[in-house]
């Protein structure tokens, strides 16, 4: 093989490898599923498991949040789908919601999922097409979760007990 060909091929291989390594450092994938999902989504080939998502939605609507999240995680193992991440965040919100106080641990996890939904959604936001949901955008979900994590004077208002879960 001619030296120039080797050098050209080497440059292409090195640049591709360097881009891959740079991408991994930028994305910080925690699992192999996140690596493969991230790469396939980069070329527009990533698809969620629709059946698992539908199962998750069914559990979510019957207030079985732990089961719902397990199904959503199965549907979107790479965490690349804004809709699934929105529902994961929403399930944490509903599970952590309480009339007197909210569960900070669940809210924090919900906030992480809501942030992912915002980041993954088109134009840095996500809007659910389901009119039955009381929270329909990832921004609204994030704001509610953040508000639940804040300590403020309004937390001691007795009228809070009359509020409804979204």
């Amino acid at each position: 093989m001619r030296e120039t060909t080797v050098r050209r091929a080497g440059l292409a291989i090195t640049l591709t490898y360097a881009l891959l390594v740079g991408w991994l450092y930028a994305r910080q994938p925690a699992t192999i599923a996140e690596v493969t999902g991230g790469l396939s989504s980069a070329i527009g080939a990533y698809r969620i498991d629709q059946k698992a998502f539908d199962n998750g939605l069914r559990y979510f609507r019957s207030d079985q949040f732990v089961e719902a999240r397990a199904a959503f995680e199965r549907a979107d193992p790479a965490r690349r789908d804004a809709r699934t991440q929105f529902y994961i965040g929403y399930s944490y919100y509903r599970q952590g919601w309480g009339r007197l106080y909210s569960d900070d641990t669940l809210y924090r996890q919900g906030l992480e999922a809501a942030e992912r939904a915002v980041a993954l959604g088109p134009q840095q936001t996500f809007t659910s097409d389901d009119p039955s949901e009381r929270i329909r955008t990832a921004d609204e979900l994030r704001a509610d979760l953040e508000s639940g994590l804040r300590r403020e004077a309004a937390d001691f208002n007795p009228m809070r007990m009359l509020r409804e879960r979204k």
Binding site: V6, R7, G10, L11, T14, A18, V21, Q28, A30
Partner: protein
């Protein structure tokens, strides 16, 4: 040095070292970038390699070479730099007193090597000893001191040690595979250093030694 070594193998080895050296198994941030301090150490290491003749930058970047050859050379130097920085990050403990001591250890050893101005073979040997010692200290000794022990006596000794050192010595518990991965990464990096294009006079001197030995 062949074109394949310069354009394919060495950059690939260095980028693999950069990737594996940054990998923290089971950590919340699985690929932390190298610290600023390790970038400084990497610059010093490149300086030591150039001074000793273990790395001849003129054989990678030179006006007499074609643009493609210079691009290959530049890619290799850039990959070597990030790999070196990540190896220092890998071998430095994450926090506490050991982190400060390791930072000083690397800085002093590199400056000392620079001042001693050894030849290529001695620099490579010195780096193998430096990295090997740091590996043993971090992944064998410090890991053993920080590991949760099963026995009651072991736990008592660990508590005493933590008390005496005010908790400044113990580190976060590492993934069981971390040490193996670090060993492979450091070995790969040392192989890359040995394969670097050396200064011609150093090579001829090395060949002279071989001939004399025969």
């Amino acid at each position: 040095m062949t074109a394949a070594l310069e354009a394919i193998y060495l950059p690939a080895i260095c980028l693999t070292v950069f990737l594996l050296g940054g990998l923290r198994l089971g950590a919340p941030v699985p690929l932390p970038p190298p610290s600023l301090y390790s970038l400084v150490l990497a610059v010093l290491l490149l300086g030591v390699l150039i001074q000793s003749g273990a790395l001849a930058p003129g054989r990678l970047l030179d006006a007499s070479r074609s643009a493609l050859e210079n691009l290959n050379g530049f890619m290799l130097l850039a990959a070597l730099f990030v790999a070196a920085a990540q190896v220092f990050s890998l071998l430095t403990p994450d926090d506490g007193l050991p982190r400060i001591l390791f930072c000083i250890y690397f800085l002093v050893l590199l400056l000392n090597t620079w001042a001693a101005a050894p030849d290529r073979v001695r620099v490579l040997r010195s780096l193998a000893v430096t990295f090997g010692a740091a590996f043993i200290l971090k992944f064998v000794i410090l890991a053993a001191l920080s590991e949760p022990t099963a026995g009651r006596l072991g736990r008592v000794l660990q508590l005493l040690l933590e008390g005496v050192t005010l908790g400044a010595l113990t580190q976060n518990v590492q993934h069981p595979a971390s040490g193996y991965l670090a060993f492979f990464t450091v070995a790969l990096f040392l192989i890359a250093l040995a394969l670097l294009p050396a200064h011609a006079s150093d090579l001829s001197r090395a060949q002279g030694i071989v001939l004399r030995d025969r």
